[in-house]
């Protein structure tokens, strides 16, 4: 009975393709809008997440003072770092970080850039990969060796002719030898060029560039947490440990801050999620309007085809078979509309993703949901017209002009 209803419905749709097209156009647009917006929204979230991965995943930064900008608060000491490493659970790696901005001069060019002084542990924390050469070693840190690992932007600027390994860069009065070039990271989400930096052993920075040897000399402490360990707990432990070490009384504010990269990621992705669901809801309304369009055309179609319904009843179609026919017709139309909408959305997503340079990922879940939703709309809005058709009196219907 169901298969027959399907055949009958298909024949009816084929009999009037223009009407079928007009009926489904609303659903096509609705489904396409929902799928496109949600897919692009997801893509945007993914992009933000990927960019935060570039800076370093599971990254916590312990900074002096509160907020951004220059701080008068005390820096951290080697002792602080060791205490954190020993006493805070959930830490995978920890590295000190001091930075300064100086003119870097090669034989060919010069550039004002960021010099970061740290230890080898920073490379995995900051998600750095080596493109050529090598990272510096713990011994080189102990020795205060004059070696440097540079970003691709620096290599391009200072050594435009080619290989940088073994070349010298002058920083103030010190010459450092390039031992490694990192792989390209590109821009951070906020527009910073992540490849525009020079990484040298922290001791070299302290002794040769800053010329200071005090104990409170670490600008920042970079920490990567263990996978799956809640970064909130690490932040809480860090806060209480540092408050204790700095002997802050209960009514004193923190004069340092523990900064969680995942928090930014979460904040950004939750705001894009809100945008996505808002836009998706608007698109959902258009899908609903598409459904009402189906109901409208089906109602008109029942009136227009009253005589045909009469014929079917006279030759022995039961009320439920007439109902099923119209219901299957509505559902078939809305499903076809859903499929066309998904295809249209696919095209739109590929095109738009290329336009804005965001990655495109085909999400079977949202496509599935949109398809099921369009089928549900067919049932929902096809029901009333179908019931009206089934309730017709065969004699009246046959007499209908």
């Amino acid at each position: 009975m169901f298969w027959n209803a399907f055949i009958i419905a298909l024949r009816e749709i084929r009999r009037n393709l223009t009407r079928a097209f007009l009926t489904v156009i609303g659903v096509v647009i609705g489904v396409a809008a929902v799928v496109t917006l949600v897919t692009l929204g997801r893509g945007a979230t993914e992009t933000v997440k990927a960019q935060i991965e570039k800076v370093g995943s599971n990254l916590l930064t312990l900074r002096p003072g509160q907020g951004w900008g220059p701080q008068s608060a005390p820096l951290f000491s080697q002792g602080d770092m060791e205490a954190v490493r020993d006493q805070v659970p959930g830490i995978r790696a920890i590295a000190p970080m001091s930075s300064t901005s100086v003119q870097a001069i090669s034989d060919e060019d010069a550039r004002q850039t960021d010099i970061q002084g740290t230890t080898p542990e920073y490379f995995p924390i900051g998600n750095w990969q080596i493109a050529s050469g090598r990272f510096f070693t713990d011994e080189e840190v102990v020795d205060g060796a004059t070696v440097a690992v540079i970003g691709e932007t620096i290599r391009k600027e200072l050594f435009p002719k080619g290989d940088a390994i073994g070349q010298k860069i002058r920083l103030l009065s010190t010459a450092v030898t390039v031992i490694g070039v990192t792989t390209v990271k590109g821009q951070a989400g906020w527009g910073d060029d992540l490849d525009d930096n020079i990484i040298i052993p922290i001791t070299t920075l302290q002794r040769r560039l800053n010329g200071q040897m005090s104990k409170q000399n670490l600008g920042q402490i970079m920490i990567s947490t263990e996978d799956g360990y809640p970064s909130e707990a690490v932040v809480a432990d860090l806060n209480s440990l540092m408050r204790e070490r700095r002997r802050l009384s209960r009514n004193q504010q923190n004069n340092f801050s523990a900064f969680d990269s995942r928090q930014i990621a979460d904040a950004v992705s939750s705001s894009t999620k809100v945008m996505t669901s808002l836009l998706g809801a608007v698109a959902g309304v258009s899908l609903l309007v598409g459904g009402i369009g189906i109901m409208n055309i089906m109602l008109v179609s029942v009136t227009e085809r009253t005589r045909e319904i009469g014929i079917r009843m006279a030759i022995g179609a039961r009320a439920r078979e007439v109902m099923l026919q119209f219901l299957v017709e509505a559902v078939t139309l809305s499903c076809v509309g859903g499929l066309c909408g998904i295809a249209l959305a696919y095209g739109l997503c590929v095109w738009l993703a290329k336009l804005v340079g965001a990655p495109f990922t085909f999400d079977p879940k949202i496509n599935g949901i949109a398809f099921i939703f369009s089928a549900a709309i067919g049932i929902l809005f096809g029901f009333m017209p179908a019931r009206r058709a089934a309730g017709l009196d065969p004699i009246e219907a046959l007499r209908h002009e």
């Binding site: 009975m1 009037n16 009469g310 030759i315 022995g316």
Partner: protein
């Protein structure tokens, strides 16, 4: 063996109270298998009402209608649908074919409700079209066929399920005299060769004269009921 159709004191009233109109006021009639009956009468005489009741499209207000021994008024809507589907065929004045649908698919229509396979449907519909003399018009849509051809497609649709009884409501009302002849000869052939009982409503004498028996309805009652003695015989 009992009659195919037995009507006892059948009445049909439309509306209610003051507006009530009694279309049939007590009809008694027996119709045997294999008859070719013409129901005649002026418009408003109740012949259409009688036809709808006989065709199980409607139920009587009072009285009894037995079809093959079954009391039709005890059947519900679905059971009457199934009775129409299996035992009855219908031909209408306006042909009532589905527009933009090929002759073959039109003839297949009743089979769709009976669960035949695609192959069986095609075969049965082709056979029916051939039996009404239109084996080469399978692909044509109604708008590409003449009135007489359309009515023959409608007849093919009515007989494709091999019903025992065929109801024809003014089957030649929209046809000229030449195609009227074609259609009536076809009905005679179905009646004589296949033994199908044909019950036909008409207001044309020359059409009625193809029937074996002519019933006149007047004011909701049977006016006359006689064997047609000067029957128009089909050309052999």
């Amino acid at each position: 063996m009992s009659n195919l159709i037995e009507l006892r004191d059948l009445t049909k009233t439309y509306g209610r109270g003051d507006a009530a109109f009694q279309a049939l006021r007590g009809v008694d009639m027996d119709i045997a298998r294999g008859e070719f009956l013409a129901v005649m009468g002026p418009s408003g005489s109740g012949k259409s009402t009688l036809m709808n009741l006989l065709g199980c499209l409607d139920t009587p207000s009072t009285g009894s209608y037995r079809f093959e021994g079954v009391e039709v008024e005890t059947l519900n809507k679905d059971q009457r649908s199934l009775l129409r589907r299996t035992a009855l065929g219908f031909i209408f004045q306006g042909f009532n074919l589905l527009a933009r649908t090929s002759a073959l698919e039109n003839v297949e229509l009743p089979l769709l409700y009976r669960g035949y396979t695609r192959k069986q449907r095609h075969e049965m519909a082709r056979k029916a079209l051939a039996s009404v003399g239109l084996p080469d018009k399978e692909r044509n849509t109604p708008s590409e066929l003449s009135g007489g051809q359309q009515q023959r497609v409608a007849i093919a649709r009515a007989i494709v399920t091999h019903p025992g009884t065929l109801f024809a409501d003014e089957p030649t009302g929209n046809l000229d005299s030449k195609t009227t002849l074609e259609v009536m000869e076809l009905l005679c052939r179905l009646n004589e060769d296949l033994g199908i009982t044909v019950i036909m409503v008409t207001h044309e004498d020359e059409v009625a004269h193809y029937a074996k028996r002519i019933v006149h309805v007047r004011d909701g009652l049977i006016g006359s009921d006689e064997i047609n003695t000067n029957r128009t015989l089909r050309s052999r």
